[in-house]
Point group: D2
Chain length 284, copies 4
């Protein structure tokens, strides 16, 4: 038995990039944070400190900025594919690249003026390895709430169960979604907009008996809308809003006054997929 090096990777995380396109007086803006992670023949640096195969993370950062100038940012996924292929193609020791991109959206206020648009972010994870490329799109921080049309009852009961069943509750969640495209030939910005719209639609239009049911409905409608999507993974915290007991003050509370709690919270995680889509664990 010996101690050996196992899987490893390295790269530059959290490179902040703001790319402006100036088309006369009207400017466009994309605001990204980029993480690069590379893997390959990296045993020497771990075992002896020989860095001959190590492209510095500082160089990776420089490449992000130079490529932003040379190629622009057509979409998160296309920019990530350019970067990932560059590292794998140009560095003999590197055979695997993952580029993770997060976009902070801005809304237009004028020809060259913008306001940050909320706490929601768009994400993409691009993987280039073994002659293949994968794109996983996603979003974080989409907070949705229905003040009614949600029930929860008929659940399993054991000796530690004190929860009462309910036929009318607030249902709220902060959506994290990741969806894998079956190929990299996709209109990524259009697909993102559609999937996001369907996730919202699935949440709003489902009369819910469990957050799991809502999760499945959201994924089902997104996949129905966009055939390019092979599977979608949803992480839905159940942001509990509890009815406040106002009886001690002689007041009833028919679904009007709630305390929003931070933790603990229920956490519902699930995948909705096409049954004929081959799994691609290396994409995640």
């Amino acid at each position: 038995m010996a101690i050996v090096l196992g899987p490893n990777r390295y790269g530059k995380a959290q490179t902040r990039l703001v790319r402006v396109v100036r088309d006369g007086e009207r400017h466009e803006l994309r605001d990204l944070t980029v993480d690069v992670a590379l893997a390959g023949d990296l045993a020497a640096t771990h075992l002896t400190g020989d860095n001959a195969n190590v492209l510095p993370t500082d160089t990776q950062k420089n490449t992000v900025y130079a490529f932003a100038k040379k190629h622009g940012v057509a979409s998160l996924e296309e920019f990530g594919l350019l970067l990932g292929r560059h590292f794998v193609d140009s560095q003999p020791a590197i055979d695997h690249a993952r580029v993770t991109l997060t976009e902070q959206p801005w809304e237009r206020l004028g020809p060259y003026s913008f306001a940050r648009h909320g706490g929601e972010t768009r994400t993409a994870v691009v993987t280039v390895a073994d002659g293949q490329a994968f794109a996983v799109a996603g979003l974080d921080g989409l907070v949705l709430l229905n003040t009614t049309a949600s029930e929860f009852h008929g659940f399993a009961v054991d000796a530690y169960t004190t929860l009462s069943p309910t036929t009318d509750r607030v249902l709220a969640t902060e959506v994290s979604a990741r969806w894998r495209y079956a190929s990299t030939a996709v209109d990524f910005d259009a697909a993102f907009a559609d999937v996001r719209a369907m996730l919202v639609e699935g949440f709003v239009s489902t009369y819910s008996y469990s957050l799991q049911q809502t999760l499945y409905a959201m994924g089902q409608v997104a996949l129905s809308e966009r055939p390019e999507v092979a599977e979608i993974r949803l992480t839905l915290p159940n942001k509990h809003h509890f009815l406040v007991d106002l009886a001690p003050f002689g007041l009833d509370n028919p679904g009007e006054v709630f305390v929003a709690t931070d933790r603990p919270y229920g956490l519902i995680e699930g995948t909705v997929r096409r049954d004929d889509a081959a799994p691609a664990p290396e994409a995640w």
Copy 2:
């Protein structure tokens, strides 16, 4: 020389309140976080642990919820005034109440469906003391950016100055604003909407030679629009976006590729006020 008790106050902080109004199938939603701080004849609890004058902070929290049911939340300021007056009027030992309210905005998706609207929050600070009441409104987290129309030059230079003057830079800030109303007889929701719009307008429409100049312009236009506002205090971090030097890669960079930095940052703070408005330090 003796050691004595100085100014003090206590209260419940961060009470989370979601108030739903159900008007048939169409629901309304307000999402608030409320801080209460009370002062008065509180020496005994400090000096001897005698709590006869201490209304528990738990009771203050209960009061927030009960008042939300009984009175609703007409506006942050009116709800805060109700609470502040209640504590001062009903507790003989309490002569000073401050209620701080923060609202997380939601946008409507359907009759009973909502999405959280970004990272921006609306605030109000209400002070009730000595038969007077003050209302200070505000907002946090409004992030604004101009990709041009900003210069910075002609500044003081000393032995530690290395900054180059510029005639074209990105100007970005995250606005924190607090404005004091001259009275409490205000249409608070309408005034908030107007002041917010004018702050945005002031930022967007000012060709800027310094962030200080933009600050003053924002305050000036807000006060011009709303005569109820006696003074406004603005805190504007200068969220630096630095041009990336791409010359080592044989690329120019005419205002296209920027690194957005977190810290350090410039911090510009200033007040714009009416010269005939009496100061009201007790309101802040």
Copy 3:
């Protein structure tokens, strides 16, 4: 009635400085974050964008680094005084400087090896204005907890009170303290260590009937120990630990199983001072 400029200031915030002293193989380390804020004759930049009186915040940052090399960091307060006096003395337009310093402590692991020591930070606020200088020391993030020796009863009761009195509870808080020295001729590092030790001692040794009583005891013992301290301001959130009701599961819970809650929380704020110390509002 006209709209005019009121109080204002500007500076560089969050300059991160790590200062190493190399005394042969044994190294010393201080890790600071420095905020500078300057005020004076700054109307022109606000009103017209004329920056002749504006020393760039970039220059302020450079000065922090250059002074760290030239003078070292004897203590937070002394380094802040050097910086504050420099800006007021060297810039004709500047008559007021405030330097806020936060230190992240490290513990020694070896001659040149260190580990970050927890979430607690030491702070100092130095003000130089009108030929005077003030130093306010402090700390944040000192989290203390007693599992017993805390009661709370005999409090005021009204129609919204549901809290039960208790003779045995967990008392926990995260101490934020700021204390003003009567002069700037102080052994600041020694005084800091003593005041911190006394705050801990006051918390641990007080049998408490209210967090207010504990606050006063903490301040009282700190002032008794260090005559240089004119006043101390304490902000003590009551980090509630509630007994979990295990009766539904046939279990009692004699002070053994608690839920630690984040919010809401009680917030206790108070000053303990010497009765013969002149107030110095400009120091805060």
Copy 4:
């Protein structure tokens, strides 16, 4: 082709538990945050909202508290194993349980007094499935720094490389570690203490030519010390400390004045393992 449900799980996240043991006047304290995630026959709730197989997350929370009273918290791993086995054994529909525990350490100040001990946390992930049980221990937030004994040169260079080689730099990182035990028959608290000590020892005693080399050394020494550990995964951000260029001010800077940067940062991730240890992907 049809749309179908894929892998899924649910549970209660972030249950805050403080467990006090009262042995006469001397009290012990453990402060945990517990996440439970369950999987099994959960298709019905997703597809139809039939919750018959869903043990409420509220019940899971209650179980954490009740078990803390009944069984105490011998170690994170043993408490997690008790919980995981309970859910799998008692719920016919559940065949997979994962319990994630995070401990915030406290240091003793007195018989019943404690201070929170820094930003570092201990973690454990316990998985119970298919008659097997796995334990993965870990820690987060261990920030280490060497002011010298670190070089970086001999790296790959391409058209985007501008980094200069160095023979003396600050090396700093915030260690996140996870290690898998080969069995669940381990003295978990003792093993944790030893592994943590070895990680620190590996960082301090390695003269480093790359952070990868330091990573491998840390893992190698930890595995050498504790034969129960089958593999260890380390995530090491390279917290860059850059020398400040003081030449414009006529000052040299021989390793004395640094700017600590937040982002971007290098991110080094790697596994060190025994070559005869069977992989256990289901444990992670």
